[in-house]
Assembly symmetry: none
Homo-oligomer: 422 residues x 2
């Protein structure tokens, strides 16, 4: 079954609103094994709306239209739906009564322009909206069943789940299930991961596994979309292929599915009632900001110290200024040890960055020296990252957190990554 | 001139990524008087891509395609562009050399699969991408000029502004000049600003001024699009209307055009060789992270202290634990004074947040108590912000920085804002 979505409204078309309704619709349908093939956004424009409805009506089996059901003159969905379906608009006495009751419950009289919301294409099926005045409806245009939904997000959500998904499932008749498995990594570029995972889709004979990536520097998301007859079939297909992904990406996998790097680090510390002190220079509090606001972090993050002045860092950690005159692995170790001692936390992470001179440019680089100290151990790493000030900063934040994750998971803190210059 | 946008990629079509690239493109073009009429999203699917290119090529004069220029097998834009244009793919020696140099500068050897990124439709015009390996290009399909852009946001942004907007303006042939004037504010909601600025477009007789807003919590951007025969005409129109906007929005205007709140604060401090110490709790380093990485900040931001534990804050600032037992205006003042004294900086900003109990929800609130201290002065503010943990945190970061801006500009630190609960 081919499904399309049409989003309407000048606010979405001009970018004043980011189109989160569309991502909600398509994610929700994907969860039910009902993938969306095509999305169209048009403004509050009669000609474009009509053309969009006609084109989708030629291509698709089902079309979800979002927006344009309101009471004002720029809400055109019912009018154009009727035109595209080749039927006149007619007053739905049923919906008019529902709206009058809606206003009566709020001790208000229905304004006259709301009557427009009860004008539906003749023969349309009403889709209930228990929390608003916009009447959803379904009607045939071309060879497709069209489902018209309100633009207000909470009304859309309720109508999609309660009224539309059941109708789409019944219409599709197919019983395949779909599952998305995700792996998050730091340090492997997309093309490198693509090479490492070559042939992974063939681990499951007979298919049903699709590999994909989403790069959002500095992290990479590796995705497996698994299709099967039901969830049991999916579990059988997923098990060998997810084991293979973990094996090939190895220590670089920092979290899976909805988990995050900072969440993994926080949980590893919290599970042992450990505490953390952070010392940052050029990352300027970004490492602390990734962890500190999370629920539970108040018991773990003891102190964060931010300064780009080495003397200040000495003053804040109790080091003698003579002990920290340059940025190196050794000085990062000294800072981490001193911060751990001074704060009494079980762990300290110090991330020192030595920036190149000169203006920001794509070749601009920085040297990252970081160390993780406990009462009786210290581990450190030096790395040179290039790509401009922002990339160096983002890279240093991620490397600091990921090295801490590796340390807490007893993995090597230093392992060659694609983003560093050797 | 009719402009369409085609967004490609399974990530966008399945809603794993919210399509912010589209809102960026359409807003940017709108700013230059180049409205977008139609947007299409399709996945990494050869048939749908081809159909989308063909349909847009029949309707539009210019089409911007986003995504699908990467090195992996699911990146199909060049291949389908060539098919739709009816020409073969050919290796761009120019781009291949650029990519090899790109990798060489990073001391890496170009992986073989990146070669695919230099395969362009024969006769395509290269659109430069100085910060990535994806080659933008322009080619004719149907009656439209197609501009292919990378999916990586910062590469898209640079290419759109540097390469595509100038070509679209030239193609549109309109001889009017367009100028966008922007005001950034914190504390006024969009409808309030709309009321405050009612009638502003009529300040210039004969028109040519268009008012618009873009809300990105917690800041609001107020935009004036000015059209004129040339830049001199625009300057004449802009002068009275921009003065009127400044007068009506008053102390709430925190920066104009490309300036930022953190940049204004940093410059105000740096211009007097002043220095700053920050103390943060729930904002967890986000205030420091807004300032600390900026060029020049190393001489201004002396120290940032992050902790959600009041005893830790006492230890870090030299306060006795008995002086800080609860979060109030008075305790924020005590912390700011102590931090200023302990660090020897000219200014200290302390932002303490007292969060409500319980799970995150839309009614979740926090009380923000902040203070700014110098050697002989202190100023403070208390405010209650509602809207969930993230909104409280973002609000506290912005309020801290904005109150510091107000203090440095000798404006009242406390002025009622729309986002606080009284």
């Amino acid at each position: 079954m081919r499904i399309e979505v049409i989003c309407t409204g000048d606010e979405v078309l001009t970018g004043k609103i980011v189109n989160t309704n569309f991502s909600f619709i398509t994610q929700k349908l994907e969860d039910f094994g009902l993938p969306v093939s095509w999305e169209t956004t048009v403004g509050d424009d009669r000609e474009d709306l009509l053309l969009a409805f006609q084109l989708a009506g030629q291509r698709a089996d089902a079309v979800i239209v979002n927006g344009g059901l309101g009471p004002t003159i720029d809400d055109l969905s019912q009018e154009i739906a009727a035109k595209a379906a080749g039927v006149p608009l007619a007053l739905s006495e049923e919906w008019l009564a529902r709206m009058e009751a809606y206003f009566a419950r709020r001790s208000r009289v229905m304004p006259p322009n709301n009557r427009k919301q009860a004008m539906l294409p003749t023969g349309a099926e009403v889709l209930d909206n228990p929390i608003g005045t916009a009447c959803g409806f379904a009607v045939d245009i071309g060879r497709a069943r069209f489902f018209f939904t309100p633009g207000v997000p909470r009304e859309l959500r309720r109508m999609l789940e309660g009224e539309i998904v059941p109708r789409l499932l019944a219409k599709s008749g197919v019983q395949t299930a779909v599952y998305l498995k995700r792996f998050h990594s730091y340090g492997i570029g997309e093309s490198h991961a693509d090479t490492l995972l070559a042939g992974i889709e063939d681990v499951v004979p007979g298919g049903g596994v699709k590999l994909g990536f989403r790069a959002h520097y500095p992290q990479l998301e590796t995705k497996l979309t698994i299709r099967g007859s039901d969830m049991e079939d999916i579990r059988c297909k997923l098990a060998p292929v997810e084991a293979e992904v973990r094996s090939r990406l190895g220590n670089f996998v920092l979290a899976e599915d909805d988990r995050t790097l900072e969440g993994v680090v926080l949980d590893a510390l919290a599970s042992k009632q450990d505490t953390l002190t952070l010392v940052e220079t050029f990352t300027s509090g970004q490492i602390a900001a990734r962890i500190g606001h999370l629920p539970g972090a108040e018991a773990v993050l003891r102190r964060g110290i931010v300064s780009r002045n080495l003397e200040e860092i000495c003053a804040a950690t109790g080091l003698a200024p003579t002990e920290l005159t340059e940025i190196s692995r050794e000085s990062a170790e000294a800072v981490a040890r001193a911060a751990q001692r001074a704060s009494g936390s079980t762990h300290a992470l110090a991330v020192l960055v030595d920036l190149d001179e000169g203006a920001d440019r794509i070749e601009f680089a920085g040297t990252i020296c970081l160390a993780i100290a406990t009462a009786d151990d210290v581990s450190s790493r030096r790395s040179r990252v290039v790509g401009g000030r922002d990339w160096v900063r983002l890279g240093a934040v991620e490397m600091g957190l990921d090295c801490l994750r590796r340390y807490l998971q007893h993995l090597p803190v230093t392992e060659r990554i694609d983003f560093e210059k050797v």
